[in-house]
Amino acid sequence: MRGVVIPISMVPGNSVIHRISPLPKLLLAGCVLVLSFSTRNPAILGALIVLGMVMVSVANIWKPFLRVMAILFPILLTLITLQSIAPAFPRPWTPIVSMGPFTIYQEGIYSGVTMVERATSMTIFALAAIMTTHPSDLFASLQKIGMPYVLNFILTMTLQLIPILQKEFTTVLSAQKSRGLKGTGFAAVLPSMVPVFVGAIERVQQLSISLESRAFGSSGAKTSYRSVKVSWVDYLLMLLTTFGTCGLLYWIITDPSLDWSRTLIFAPWLAITLFTLATIGFLIFVIIAIRVVLRA
């Protein structure tokens, strides 16, 4: 089963990025999200991606980062394929080439490429924040900026549950195989899901009794063991991030020349290449994914 569940968790390290408090990192990830959704300019989105990659380099988390992207990126590629032939864009559309029943449109390629850029830039910053922060600090920060205690707790538990259920699934599957169950295909995977699912329910019941026995759910004031310290450096960083984002937003909103959808012309060969690469990339991913799941 290894490799099927996306491993998103902290990568231990001592880089500058690791040492910054989680709050500025979360803020930056949030700002990039806002920026990415407010522009379709490929150059601005590209610049955000480059900035994100600089962060990944400084934090020295390329390997785990690429492992996640290897799964995410091929899925994003479908955006280019689908958008090219059916743009989510106001008509009129400018056809570039026709292949049988399909026509690739200029606006479609533009839309597809910028959507992929958007998703990529958001993901990079979110991953950089998650992978350089101890999960407990992350949750403590989320609580600090107003996430309710119970929601926070549910999120923590869910994150804990994923690797446990994965391990249980592997155990059950190998037990069933050793009992002579034909070990390939979904026919083998499905019967293993049932005991894992039943086990999960039992686990949650038992855990809720266990938590209640430790006064979980008491009325009365609660305290919080983990706390995030925010230094003046963090405040400065947050201030800079906010100003930078506001400036960029102002530029994006007021400068109509940033809309390149009609001016950035894709040559037919480039459009076909992009379309083909995206489609092939996605298909290869699907084939590999199916094989991994079936082999598990």
């Binding site: 979980f216 305290t223 063991y225």
Partner: protein, 291 residues
């Protein structure tokens, strides 16, 4: 013990799970005093877990069913106090170590209960250190609970319960999912708490030899009823009753029985239950020096 007030008193307790036809507990009457180490013996399904869930009010507050009679801990009637409000009196450890843990680190696992009680943050670290020290997990505060061995996880569960300063520690087959070395560690911690801190321990367990050595009271359950209740010596001397309930006695006790039946040894109905006791009583038969 006669004039003393029991820390746990169960009166005419009968409980039937919602949807079940027969009661899981039938007319239980028990008094348990501070500092006792009580072992609960009985086959699977005899009602040990159900009885233990009544002690900290999981029954009737979290599990549906029909409860008659009363359970009182430290003068508090469990019908009136939900589980979370008894956390400072009753700590519990269940059989499956992983099902009780939920936090990112050992220290946070212990802090969870303290947070719920609203203990001040400055007071938490000393408490965490203290309870980790008691259960022998010092220095593991930053580890993930899920990286620990089964025995360590159970000791962490004990530590998490201890942090809330309970007077009663209820343990439901705490070693049934733990390797042999881990079992020893868990038993040792429970014995130490009982001996050094007067902790009242109520443990369901199948290891009769271990219980004969540690417990000062044995309660035997069968089909939801308490069929025996007394010191290890009193209880294990009732071999016929235990056999009828499908239970074993310690191996030395069994040997003492056979010596009585095959070799006409006489124990005056007081059978040895630990190796040490057996040795003390058998050794003189062989003559020679002993001191």
């Amino acid at each position: 013990m006669s004039g003393e007030k029991p820390i746990l008193e169960i009166k005419d307790l009968t409980f039937t799970y919602a949807g079940a036809e027969t009661p899981a507990l039938k007319n239980i009457n028990l008094q348990i005093f501070e500092g006792e180490y009580v072992a609960l013996l009985g086959l699977n399904g005899s009602g040990k877990t159900t009885l233990q869930l009544c002690i900290n009010a999981v029954i009737p507050h979290m599990i549906m069913g029909d409860m008659e009679g009363s359970v009182t801990v430290q003068d508090l009637d469990t019908a009136e106090y939900p589980t979370r409000e008894l956390a400072k009196i009753v700590g519990v450890v269940f059989d499956n170590p992983e099902f009780q843990l939920s936090q990112m680190s050992v220290a946070e696992e212990i802090a969870l209960g303290l947070e719920n009680l609203g203990v001040a943050v400055e007071e938490m670290n000393p408490i965490i250190h203290e309870v980790l020290d008691i259960v022998g997990l010092s220095g593991l505060g930053d580890r993930s609970p899920f990286e620990l061995s089964g025995g360590q996880q159970q000791r962490l569960s004990i530590a998490a319960a201890l942090a809330m300063r309970p007077q009663i520690l209820v343990m439901d087959e705490p070693t049934s999912n733990v390797d042999p070395i881990g079992k020893e560690e868990v038993f040792a911690v429970a014995a130490k708490l009982n001996r050094e801190r007067k902790m009242t321990v109520i443990m369901a367990e199948h290891e009769v030899e271990v219980m004969a050595a540690y417990a000062n009271r044995i309660i035997v359950m069968d089909h939801g009823e308490v069929i025996l209740n007394g010191t290890p010596t009193e209880v294990f001397s009732q071999l016929d009753v235990l056999e009828k309930a499908g239970l074993r006695v310690p191996q030395v006790t069994e040997m003492a029985y056979r010596l009585e039946h095959d070799r006409s040894a006489h124990w005056n109905s007081v059978y040895p239950v630990t190796t040490e006791e057996a040795f003390q009583r058998i050794a003189p038969l062989f003559g020679g020096k002993h001191d």
